[in-house]
Amino acid sequence: MKIPLMRMREKLVVRVVSRFFIPFILLFGLYVQFHGDYGPGGGFQAGVIFTSGFVLYGLVFGLENLQRVVPWTVVEWGASLGLLLYGCVGIASLFLNGNFLDYKVLDAHDPMHGLHLGILLIELGVGLTVSASMLAIFYAFAGRRTA
């Protein structure tokens, strides 16, 4: 891919700094994902932050290396599974004699736990779909050969 930024690969400072930062970006993405009930953010923001870490890796170390870390298959499955997880939580609550996406029935003993579990699961689904979709769009744009 011949983005002007691709020349970053040769820049030592960019390589070292991004290598240092990428783990923290990914960690921050996970924090936003699982701490969404208590702090700002949620699945959508977490997914985008998580993906931006991978995109940074792709920009600095090349698309080929990034696709070795996260192949197309993972991206496709991730995007589909996230949405499927969200829908399944809704269907599961239907089977447990609740309304669609009524999380309270998910835990038979404590409705509050069911509620938190439901929100955690659907946020996970949103995060998975968003992060995989963003990566898919990045792959599709960056992987095209210059006409």
Binding site: D37, S52, Y86, G90, L115, G118, T129, S133, F141
Partner: protein, 179 residues
């Protein structure tokens, strides 16, 4: 309003004007990222941290990269064109109409505004009582409006599907063999 908001707004206006004037598309793409970062700062000052998060990650991060990716497929300079009056007038009039519209809106943060009277009190009171979680935005998105969020997730998934179908043809196992 405190001065830093004026400063950010002034920077926003300057960035917007510069983006419109620039012919060098690479710099314009980078400036849209800066525009998003400034907006994220404004959202933070308005206590909309969730929106600021999204703006910073999507606007300043991913979409700037996508724009650069698009630039690599096309030319880096905008073609020279004579200044046309009609589009300028239309943009000016639309902007003016929008500006006039904001004059009718309730003041920022006014608790008596209609939008803060309808469902918001229920959400604010209900989040703590029913959910026991402090982030009202999560409660609204995840539970009160879970159907909407399901739809939004489906929209994002569909967008990715569309981009994959349009742009990523011949990728995957077949594409690897081609190389």
């Amino acid at each position: 309003m405190i001065p830093i908001e004026f400063l950010l707004l002034a920077f926003l206006v300057v960035t917007a004007v510069v983006i419109a004037r620039l012919d060098y598309l690479f710099a314009a793409a980078m400036l849209t990222g800066i525009f998003s970062l400034l907006s994220a700062g404004l959202f933070t000052l308005m206590d909309a941290v969730d929106v600021a998060f999204t703006e910073a990650a999507v606007g300043a991060g991913v979409s700037t990269v996508l724009m650069l990716g698009t630039l690599s497929l096309t030319v880096r300079e905008e073609r020279e064109r004579p200044l046309r009056i009609l589009p300028f007038v239309i943009v000016f009039l639309t902007g003016g109409a929008l500006f006039l519209g904001t004059l009718e809106m309730p003041a920022y943060g006014d608790p008596t505004a209609t939008i803060h009277q309808y469902l918001a009190p229920d959400y604010i009171a209900g989040t703590e009582a029913e959910f026991g979680i402090p982030n009202i935005v999560t409660a609204i998105l995840g539970s009160y409006r879970a159907f909407d969020t399901l739809g939004e997730t489906a929209v994002i998934f569909t967008a990715a599907l569309g981009v994959m179908a349009l742009l990523a043809s011949g990728r995957g196992r077949k594409g690897e063999e081609e190389k």
